[in-house]
């Protein structure tokens, strides 16, 4: 009797990535690698001033140059609507944002005209030949200064830079547990206040933005290749702005070289490129240079935080109250006003107080617009609560780990526990990740060494910092999004097609840009349908090949997209079952499904999925009413967010004379539910932690008084390289999400959320014996040195 060997499952296996062969051999198709016949190049004329009026952009000299084909000013290109903004919050002031600024530029880099030339170099030369009669105005770049009386007004018609206020009582669809007001009046409670400024950051996807627009005027059809996370959204936005029907507007995000939120965006350059292609009837390409990217692609963070905690003297957290002032930059981009809101329910972290409040102001400044940067709102929340928990521990004379443990939501509350801010968390094991972290860290051993160094007056001080985190990701239930006043939904769509030869085509509406979707989705489908991993092809990032989709952001691809695929797979199996019953002449109930094969219970008669796929395709012998083909579509709207969590620790050595911080160890224990591919999960954590470390120690984008970006090139903007970062020590726990059939949660943003407070906490801990209690981030050598000086004096 033949024995069947169970194939090793793909889920949970360290499968090598299907994406890699092209990427490691130079065969990738990033947008700038694509050339089409007759292609012209665009160059954008940008404001050199942060705030300046103009009446005329004179393109005549540019037009007279050899090889320059056309030039358009704001007055020359008509758009049916301004650039789309997707979060019309309550009472939000929403000035129109045209792709080319009319009359007035509001930040350095604001585009006012576009030139079209026969080469990249000529386009650059032509940009320099355009003269604009600038009349510079006073500019404001700081959020608080922008709110002060007499500040320059970014949008004249508004008469204020205050764009709006989001208030928990008025705007949260979920009721909070309690009002914190009384707690802060209670004399028996200990109160601490944390005030933090989170520096402006530049996302720095390694691939700069690039677009290529190709028209077919005879058909009224357009194709736009764009380095984007959101081809489906962009298609719709372009329809609204340019009046090209969705079906004639094909948007392709080919290979995309990283994004981190900066390509969760719709840029004016996309609308302009399609408009120019329509004007000229010729394809046009534009690829930004890095310095252009720094002023004209969105930035992140730039926020003042004030967070207050009230706790009992023995360390029970009772209330959390938060107020933020967040920079929007000069315009509202796709989701700018909602970025702080994405953290609105998370400022109590993994803790369980009784009362909660949260609000923020949105403020215009003469700076590059801000929008989503990896984590978007959730790193901000985690930073505030975790740093302030350290402060509370210090105030109470408690160990920071013990304070955290004491206040964690306990595991017995799950599944589906409603936290203080009113949202319901699917599952978690917060003490479990913390315990595992401490085990790996050897916390006691560390404290001994720290004490020894302090005793011998070592100029290199040791410190450890902790961070626990909770994220709401898997964005998002559409009904919740509606309650939050978002313009779109949060579902995801997939179509699975069993091909005649038994290979599987999976079309998915998410749009990968480094995550490895072709790999992980192949793993889940292979296991579910019982086909070879190699036989699954995952298609994404092209609105013509995958018409339905809501793209990739907010750690949603596996938790929402993966589940859409799973349900489509269930439909495939159900349909195959009908066909199998027909072929095997039995009732469907008599069939037993082991992935890949239906067997008639108690017999050796079976039908495999590949054979069924061919039979379904040929249509020769189908049951009555059976649609030919083995194909199914599922659109999945998640019933809840997914809620990964974890605990991180960072150990640093600080040179107390120079302020230089060296990361000795970084230990992370995360729980993203079921891991489809542990190697890719680890990769996401590595990269996220690296960005979080960068945020804590290296990166900031500051402006000078006139609104010029001081960190305007990769030379001055401090992205850490390999020597600056340690090897990371990773571990995990697995608490499956009960909300979805794969038990997955999401891991794309975890590291970026967790790392900054752990790193800053470590630096502060290293210097605590000198009296240092906080350091503004990034903790550059100079800031560390100054903190030591100030503590000493």
């Amino acid at each position: 009797m033949a024995t069947t060997e169970q194939p090793a499952p793909n889920i949970g296996a360290r499968k090598l990535r299907k994406e890699d062969p092209k990427l490691i051999t130079g065969a990738a198709r990033y947008t700038d690698n694509i050339t089409v016949p007759g292609m012209l190049w665009l160059g954008f004329v940008r404001s050199p001033f942060a705030h300046a009026r103009y009446t005329k952009a004179d393109v005549s000299k540019a037009l007279a140059m050899d090889g320059v084909v056309a030039a358009y000013t704001a007055a020359d290109l008509e758009f049916a609507a301004p650039l789309f903004m997707a979060f019309p919050l309550r009472d939000l002031k929403q000035p129109p944002h045209w792709p080319l600024a009319k009359d007035k530029a509001r930040y350095v880099g604001d585009p006012v005209a576009v030139v079209v030339a026969e080469s990249r170099a000529l386009a650059k030369d032509a940009v320099e030949a355009v003269s604009v009669d600038w009349e510079p105005l006073p500019a404001v770049t700081d959020v608080r200064e922008a709110l002060a009386d007499g500040a320059p007004i970014v949008h004249d018609d508004l008469g204020t830079n205050h764009a709006g206020t989001w208030d928990f009582e008025l705007d949260s669809p979920a009721p909070r547990r309690g009002d914190p007001g009384p707690y802060f009046e209670d004399p028996d409670l200990v109160k601490v206040t944390g005030e933090y400024f989170l520096a402006r950051l530049i996302p720095n996807a390694m691939e700069p933005r690039s677009v290529l627009a190709e028209p077919n005027l005879a058909q009224g059809e357009f194709t736009l290749w764009t380095a984007s996370q959101i081809p489906h959204f962009i298609r719709t936005f372009l329809t609204i702005e340019l009046g090209i029907p969705e079906a004639k507007m094909r948007v392709i995000a080919p290979d995309v070289g990283g994004a981190f939120g900066s390509k969760l965006e719709h840029y004016g350059e996309e609308a302009v490129s399609v408009a120019v292609a329509r004007e000229l009837g010729r394809p046009v390409k534009w690829t930004e240079e890095r310095s252009e990217n720094y002023v004209a692609s969105i930035h992140g963070r730039d926020m003042y935080q004030r967070i207050e905690l009230a706790a009992t003297r023995d360390g029970v957290l009772k209330a959390v109250r938060v107020k933020l002032e967040a920079s929007m930059g000069a315009y509202l981009r796709v989701v700018s006003p909602a970025i702080p809101m994405l953290g609105a329910w998370l400022y109590a972290g993994v803790y369980d107080p009784e009362a909660y409040d949260f609000a923020y102001d949105m403020v215009f400044t003469n700076t590059t617009p801000t929008d989503a940067y990896r984590g978007a709102g959730r790193p901000e929340a985690t930073y505030a609560i975790e740093r302030t928990m350290d402060q509370l521990a210090h105030e109470l004379g408690m160990d920071p780990v013990e304070l955290r443990r004491k206040n964690m939501i306990t595991t017995d509350k799950f599944p589906n526990y409603t936290i203080v801010s009113g949202l319901t968390v699917d599952s978690g094991d917060y003490t479990g990740t913390l315990d595992k972290l401490l085990e790996r860290l050897d916390y006691e051993g560390f404290r001994r060494e720290q004490a020894e160094r302090r005793q011998r007056g070592d100029r290199k001080a040791l410190g450890v910092g902790f961070s626990t985190w909770l994220e709401m990701c898997g964005l998002a239930p559409s009904r919740v999004l509606a309650a939050l006043r978002y313009a779109g939904g949060g579902w995801e769509a997939s179509t699975i097609e069993m091909m005649p030869t038994g290979t599987v085509r999976v079309a998915i509406g998410t749009a990968a840009h480094g995550q490895g979707h072709a790999t992980t989705f192949s793993q889940t489908v292979a296991d579910q349908l019982g086909v070879e991993y190699e036989d699954v092809e995952v298609i994404y990032g092209d609105t013509q090949l995958v018409p339905l989709g809501l793209d990739t952001y907010g750690s949603r691809s596996m938790a929402v997209g993966g589940i859409a695929i799973h349900h489509a797979g269930e439909k495939i199996i159900a349909k195959a079952r009908t066909l199998a019953a027909h072929q095997l002449e039995c009732s469907e109930d008599d069939l037993e499904w082991t992935p890949g094969t239906f067997t008639v219970r108690g017999t050796d008669r079976s039908a495999d999925i590949k054979t069924l796929a061919f039979a379904a395709w040929s249509g020769h012998d189908l049951p009555d009413g059976f649609e030919p083909g083995l194909t199914a579509t599922h659109i999945y709207d998640p019933p809840n967010f997914s809620w990964p969590h974890g605990a991180h620790a960072c150990v640093v050595e600080v040179d107390t004379e120079t302020g230089l911080v060296d990361i000795m160890r970084y230990v992370a224990v995360d729980d993203c539910g079921v891991q489809i591919n542990p190697m890719l999960v680890a990769g996401q954590v590595h990269g996220g932690v690296a960005q979080g470390i960068a945020e804590a120690l290296y990166e900031e984008a500051r402006y000078d008084e006139e609104g010029n970006l001081l960190h305007g090139t990769m030379t001055t903007y401090m992205i850490p390289a390999a020597p600056e970062l340690p090897s990371f020590e990773l571990d995990h726990t697995v608490t499956p999400s009960p909300t979805n059939p794969l038990g997955v949660k999401g891991i794309g943003e975890a590291g970026t959320i967790a790392a900054p407070p752990a790193v800053i906490g470590a630096v502060v801990d290293a210097l605590s014996h000198l009296g240092v209690t906080d350091i503004e981030r990034p903790a550059t050598p100079e800031r560390v040195w100054k903190a030591i000086q100030e503590a000493r004096s």
Partner: protein, 281 residues
């Protein structure tokens, strides 16, 4: 990142380069291109003609000149870093050449280019100043030797005439003197926030003499003369006090990496450490 247009000429020899430099409109020399091209790509420099001296073999390589090393102007940082003669007789310059930029930059960047660019943040400029190097220049009127201390004039300005070029850098062999170069920067790939070079001789347990050079502490590379005089003939335990004079007479910049005040502080700390490290070598 595309320069404005220019003409390009390849020099076959030093004489040919000088002739091209003299006769071509608005001509600039290029060797590795790692000082000039970055400026051209941002259109901050727009020369009319580039004269490429990168192929002039007589300008390349390290030669043992008896009491000194003669380093050809287009010797690349990587070559200087790995040159056995340099490593033996002047480890300070060989070592420091390995700290410039990153590996790719060191494969192309040249010592002559670094000096001619005269950026006060240049590590090798400070080393040449610290070593009292002679910079050999040629022009239409022949060859002259410029003391390093007379070479650097101001920010990105030096003593070279428009029709002159550096052909060689002569640095003394340092014998038994201890040496150190400490380059402070937050990222390995950055320019020095502050750099300190030290060359220290010891006799009978005391410091016989010390030379201390500073990177990025003013408009040019500088010597910390206050430190040097305080250390001359001083006992080894006087380093700490002497180092406090490191920022005397400096005029450090304030920029995104550090304020002038912090640079002054760093200069003191690093000077103490560099001298101690030199004493230990």
């Amino acid at each position: 990142m595309i320069p404005t247009g220019f003409d390009y000429e390849v020099a076959e020899s030093t004489d040919h380069a000088l002739e091209l430099l003299r006769t071509k409109e608005d001509a600039k020399l290029i060797a590795g291109g790692h000082s000039l091209l970055p400026l051209m790509k941002l259109r901050l420099a727009q020369p009319g003609t580039l004269v490429d001296i990168g192929r002039v073999s007589e300008l390349r390589g390290v030669r043992d000149g008896g009491d000194h090393l003669a380093i050809g102007a287009v010797t690349r940082h990587h070559e200087l870093n790995h040159d056995p003669v340099a490593r033996e007789h002047c480890p300070l310059i060989a070592y420091t050449a390995g700290l410039v930029g990153d590996p790719q930059v060191r494969h192309r960047g040249t010592i002559g280019g670094s000096l001619a660019h005269s950026d006060p943040a240049s590590d090798l400029s400070t080393i040449c100043l610290t070593l009292d190097a002679d910079i050999v220049a040629r022009g239409p009127n022949g060859e002259r030797t410029i003391d390093a201390k007379d070479f650097f004039k101001s920010f990105l300005e030096n003593d070279l005439g428009e029709d002159e070029m550096i052909t060689e850098v002569r640095v003394p062999k340092v014998g038994a003197a201890g040496w150190s170069y400490l380059k402070f920067r937050q990222r390995s790939l950055d320019w020095a926030t502050v750099g300190v070079a030290a060359l220290v001789g010891v006799q009978n347990g005391s410091i016989e003499g010390a030379r201390v050079g500073l990177t990025n502490m003013g408009h040019t590379p500088l010597r910390a003369s206050g430190v040097e005089s305080a250390l001359a003939g001083a006992p080894r335990d006087s380093v700490g006090a002497a180092a406090e004079k490191a920022d005397e007479g400096t005029d450090p910049p304030s920029d995104t990496w550090a304020s002038a005040d912090f640079r002054r502080h760093l200069a003191q700390v690093l000077t103490g450490r560099a001298v101690e490290e030199a004493l230990s070598r």
